[in-house]
Symmetry: C2
Subunit: 202 residues, 2 copies
């Protein structure tokens, strides 16, 4: 059936490199030259393998959200408590403010901001990805309620929406250059809200 010269590069590695580039610079500001350089591919290989810049971008979005969901699921499974899981996640976002190279925000949220208004295909991929991530947090919050860690008086959906909103806000602050010291108390307030009247998780 198929024969011929075998592919010399690894598709997933190439996608990872492309994701890094798109993530750091955004879609429009990433040129094909940038992609060829970081992916270490020839133009022909890129077009033959991924179609074009737009299709490549959608592949990167998909790969990113799959990775994020699996990492989060694992972290949730390995956490000693739901409060710890959620708080660690918030602190992880904040700690990205420490240096510029990690101050990139969330690839999904960045893309929503850049393209969701004018590119329906990408918008769909992004909202699907965000939904999958939110589903992990929904499971976490449901679990936290059952274990009496979180406020059971409020509908889970509201808490999930609140958490996703808060995370997006933190990420924007980090990207905008807010200093870490001012964000820790914000994370405390967010956790306090999730857990009802209980004192904040330490």
């Amino acid at each position: 059936m198929t024969s011929g010269r075998p592919r010399e590069f690894d598709i997933d590695r190439a996608l990872e490199a492309a994701t890094r580039q798109f993530w750091a610079a955004g879609y429009e500001a990433t040129s094909l030259q940038d992609l060829l350089k970081t992916m270490r591919l020839s133009k022909s290989s890129l077009y033959q393998t991924f179609g074009n810049k737009h299709e490549l971008f959608v592949c990167c979005i998909d790969r990113y959200q799959q990775t994020m969901v699996s990492v989060l699921s694992e972290q949730l499974a390995n956490s000693s408590s739901v409060e710890r899981f959620l708080h660690d996640f918030l602190e992880g976002v904040i700690s990205q403010a420490k240096n510029c190279s990690t101050r990139k925000g969330c690839f999904l949220v960045n893309t929503a901001n850049e393209l969701s208004q004018r590119d329906p295909v990408i918008a769909k991929a992004v909202s699907g990805g965000i939904g999958n991530v939110a589903e992990v947090f929904r499971q976490a919050i449901e679990q936290g309620k059952q274990q009496k860690e979180l406020d059971s008086a409020l509908p889970t959906e509201n808490l999930v929406d609140y958490f996703m909103t808060s995370v997006s806000g933190l990420r924007t602050m980090v990207k905008a250059g807010a200093d870490i010291a001012s964000l820790h108390p914000v994370a405390q307030l967010i956790m306090k809200t999730l857990s009802g009247n209980k004192p904040a998780y330490q």
Copy 2:
């Protein structure tokens, strides 16, 4: 001193049109052709008056933040209570989700997302603008504490940071296409956090 043919267009109207365009499409995605069309200027007039695209953009940022600060200050002065002022602001953000033309988010936050990482001049203008807006909310929260509307146990700065973070998150959700119904409870939770243990503002 100066004589010659008088300027036929209104600078502030032209800036308003440019702001509308930049706001809707972002900096990179706005071409000079787009600007000439919406501003109703010839290329010569634009360059003579505003220098270039970049300087024009900075003018738009400045104009936007000045307008925003003055509108917010007036709303605060005219509000029956601080809680009402803050809650109305959150609901105003949410109500922008109703149709696509108003689903543009905040011009300052959008710009921070698009350009703050790679354009120090614009980054400075944006962070200055955000600081001015935050200052209005700082005054509001200080006032709310004195009038026993808000939680006095927490430092004002923390509450301001929390509020700015929450607003940014809400704006991202609106831009990402979240439905209004899911955001009202989020706004309630934010207000509840600001006011301490009191029931949410209705």
